[in-house]
Amino acid sequence: MTKIGLEIHCQLTKLESKLFCSCKANYRENKPNSNVCPICMGLPGTLPRLNKKAVEKATLIAMALNCSTPEKIAFFRKNYFYPDLPKNFQITQLNIYGDTSVGGTGEIMVGDKKIRITRIQLEEDPGRLIYEGSSSKNQITLVDYNRAGTPLVEIVTEPDFENPKQVREFLKILSDLLENLNVSDPSLEGAMRADANVSIEGGNKVEIKNINSFHDLEKAVHFEITRQESLYSRDIPIALETRHWDDQRKITISSRSKEEDLDYRYFLEGDIPWVRIGKDIQEKLKSEMPESIMSKKERYVTKYNIPEQVADVLSSDKYYSDLFDKSNDEQNAKEIANIITTDLMGLVDTREKREQSKLTSSHLRDLADSIQSEKLTRNSAKNALYEIVKSGKDLSEIISQLDLGNVSDENELLQIIQQVLSEEPQAAEEAKSNPQTINFLVGKVMQKTKGKADPKLTLELFKKKLG
């Protein structure tokens, strides 16, 4: 049986400051080494100043993943030399003196598969390396420490996944959950990274490191299973080893350096006392926790009678569910859900588009109301939505500007109907006995009015006319 375990590193991108100092947590778009201070540069004499909110947010993640949360958490030093580590040790968490990481064991359902979570820990991100020089003689490494000290939550699972599909589903659930908790923006470059371990029946466990996005994680796992199966089928033993994900070539490569003395000499970080997160604080955190995706979905189905599939889409995306919850007033809930899931999704499917969008919840409310009161056809509403997202103008302004208002003047409509009947004599005849053909004729009227004809009124007038 194939076994896959994951170690997921997720940056707490919604924080203002780093884990142990007051430099910016969002290091992106800064000149190299401009977002640094004596603490995150590991200068002699500096001490870590633990970020309270980082502990709270990490605890929330643990709670949301149904993990146990201890009343005291501790930090440890993981000692190894690397140029991206300013102190040549990383401050992280472990459970060697009882459960002292932000999250202990837990489990989460992925479809009908139960995935066990081993632990959740809070730690600091290292800096970044840039390799320079072409010949081996002039090669050097440049280091940018802007990222060093960014708060990182590591989620470690048991090897409970059986195939890449389960991995993908888990990652979807996880990124939705992180976004819903408002702790992290999974779409930011480098915000989500992972290591995986993969073994197939009869083979050794292989670690894959350096996977820099969720997208690649699924690919890497898939590649590795295929590679191992191919070895197995040719009776070549699968080595117990660490491999790296090459994100250019999308393959795993055996790590050249033997993970020699991987003895991290973990010990307690004396500069950070154990932090008490008593039951009272935990309860308070829980009460402030955003509504879970599951509970949102349930609410949408039972309260608004929204179909399950639609509720699923709405609830799992925080952007949509926030819009929905803000704009609906029960009466128009179904219509709004409909607008979001059929028309809006194509307009704001990326982070950039969402940031540029001028749409507000009151726009949505106006749109839904106009459809319900038959001032706008669905078709016109779709055109209006496109304009709103682009310009942010009021719906009424857009209706007059684009002349989207319904044609509901009986005389005007009768004229157009007359025109259609004379153009389509055969259909007109047929329509007297076949209601399907009336729809065809209504469609013709729609064409002539660019979708603005009031469909109900048009149908009625046809019926009268054809007697």
Binding site: P44, G45, T46, L47, R49, N79, K137, V143
Partner: protein
């Protein structure tokens, strides 16, 4: 100019206009010029000290608000960062390191108008108890320059003892303030863990060390503590002392107090003159109305091994950052591979530091942690319980600060294990976090002996009262330099 005055006397005299800070600091600089060739207390003398003192005088004259130090010249152990000045840890590795920020204790002293007269010598990275391991040469004991001044804050103790400053800041990881204070006949204080912020103190063994003042009198220590102590948001391990005034009521005395004499600290290996000084001190304490009884603390036997295991482990990690990439000395990276570069760069460490790095790699390693490191942590826990128990019965504990007299430079430098044993009386208060103080008590054959008093955690104020009481019973000769 009389330089042989206490900090409190200095403050009084400048406040009253009897002396000027500028004259005093200038005379201090002259004194350093005269004696420091012999003593080598300083690695660096502040060339702007006189100018800074003159600024304070201006404030005094103009009636402006003046900080409580009134331009007092203070020496600072060279492992505490002063912004824009070199902080070397007496190591070649940090020969050119200029701190870009002030340690919290430095900010506090600046606010109180102290003048930093210079950076004091130490054993490299504070690892040692003789100051012989300074990469820039040893300091010498002003009582007899053939002898070690103790360490690692040797330069600090020498500078106070030889009137090269009024007070000093040292750091105490296992006795590094109290040991040289004892060897140089000054007061040395190791506060309750967390009482003084460590921000800006270059770590050696961060879980047990503290910055501590070295002064001429116990009252001076209380004065310094008033300035230095308290919560600091830059150091998560600091504790709230609710702004206790350590000077007020310092003359309360010790009548009716119970004092335990730690038997493990006056047993095998103790110098007989140190033992008789200790017995004498005990009778003086009794004369002051205290009740003294012998007490046994079993874990003391294991404390030195535990101490060196823990400190080596933490040092191995704390000193890992010295890879010469971000700061350090000139040594180009081209043509090297990472591991070979830093292994070469780090040979600038001196031999004692290298030994402890090797130890620090060994004792917590996966094959050996159970036998050495974990066991040491457990000894620390049990020792802490035993000491807590002892303080349920006794207000204070007493022992000689060091079981032997100062020894000659070079005498023990090649025998690390013999040096270990010298620490047996001081490491306990570091491992358990309790405060302790060394009070100058006697001179034997021209060499000083200090008596150590300990109190329970956060009882620093009472400890100073007891130390002051003991101090009043002593009348010592002047340093012969």
């Amino acid at each position: 100019m009389n330089l042989k005055i206490s900090a409190l006397e200095y403050v009084e005299q400048v406040k009253n206009g009897n002396i000027s800070a500028e004259d005093f600091v200038s005379a201090t600089i002259d004194r350093i010029k005269n004696v420091d060739d012999k003593l080598h207390a300083f690695l660096q003398v502040n060339s702007k000290a006189v100018e800074q003192a003159a600024q304070v005088d201006k404030k005094v004259k103009s009636g402006e608000k003046v900080g409580s130090c009134f331009g007092m010249p203070i020496s600072i152990k060279d492992n505490i960062c002063i912004k824009h000045s070199k902080t070397t840890c007496a190591s070649k590795m940090l020969e050119n390191f200029v701190a870009p920020y002030d340690a919290t204790v430095i900010s506090k002293l600046k606010e109180q108008d102290a003048v930093f007269i210079g950076k004091a010598n130490l054993d490299e990275f504070a690892m040692g108890l003789t100051t012989e391991f300074s990469a820039y040469g040893p300091s010498r004991n002003p009582w007899n320059t053939d002898y070690v001044p103790g360490g690692s804050s040797g330069g600090s103790a020498v500078s106070v003892s030889a009137f090269e400053c009024v007070a000093s800041l040292g750091s105490d990881t296992g006795g590094s303030v109290r040991n040289p204070a004892s060897f140089c006949s000054t007061v040395g204080y190791k506060p309750t863990y967390g009482l003084i912020s460590r921000y800006g103190l270059i770590s050696y063994a961060n879980s047990i060390e503290q910055i501590g003042p070295i002064t001429r009198t116990v009252k001076d220590t209380a004065f310094m503590l008033n300035i230095l102590s308290g919560l600091d948001s830059h150091d998560n391990t600091t504790i709230d002392n609710e702004n206790v005034d350590y000077l007020s009521g310092i003359e309360a005395g010790i009548e009716g107090k119970k004092i335990g004499i730690i038997q493990e600290m006056i047993g095998e290996g103790i110098d007989h003159t140190v033992l008789s000084a200790t017995n004498d001190a005990v009778s003086k304490l009794e004369g002051l109305g205290a009740i003294c009884e012998p007490i046994s603390i079993d874990m003391v036997k294991y404390s030195v091994a535990s101490y060196y295991t823990i400190t080596a482990t933490e040092a191995g990690s704390n000193l890992a950052r010295y890879d010469n990439l971000r700061y350090g000395y000139d040594f180009p990276v081209e043509g090297f591979e990472f591991n070979s570069y830093i292994s070469k760069a780090r040979t600038k460490f001196g031999p004692e530091v290298i030994r402890r790095m090797i130890l620090g790699g060994f004792v917590p390693s996966s094959g050996h942690a159970g036998k050495y490191f974990l066991k040491s942590l457990k000894v620390k826990s049990k020792l802490t319980r035993e000491v807590t128990e002892a303080f349920k019965k006794y207000d204070f504990l007493v022992a000689p600060t060091v079981p032997i007299l100062p020894f000659k430079i070079g005498e023990k430098i090649d025998d690390p294990v013999a040096l270990f044993q010298v620490d047996i009386n001081t490491v306990m208060s570091n491992l358990t976090g309790v405060p302790s103080i060394s009070v100058p008590y006697a001179i034997s054959n021209g060499l000083p002996i200090g008596i150590q008093l300990l109190a329970k955690q956060n009882d620093d104020k009472s400890l100073l009262q007891a130390a002051h009481a003991l101090e009043t019973t002593v009348n010592l000769p002047e340093v012969p330099i």
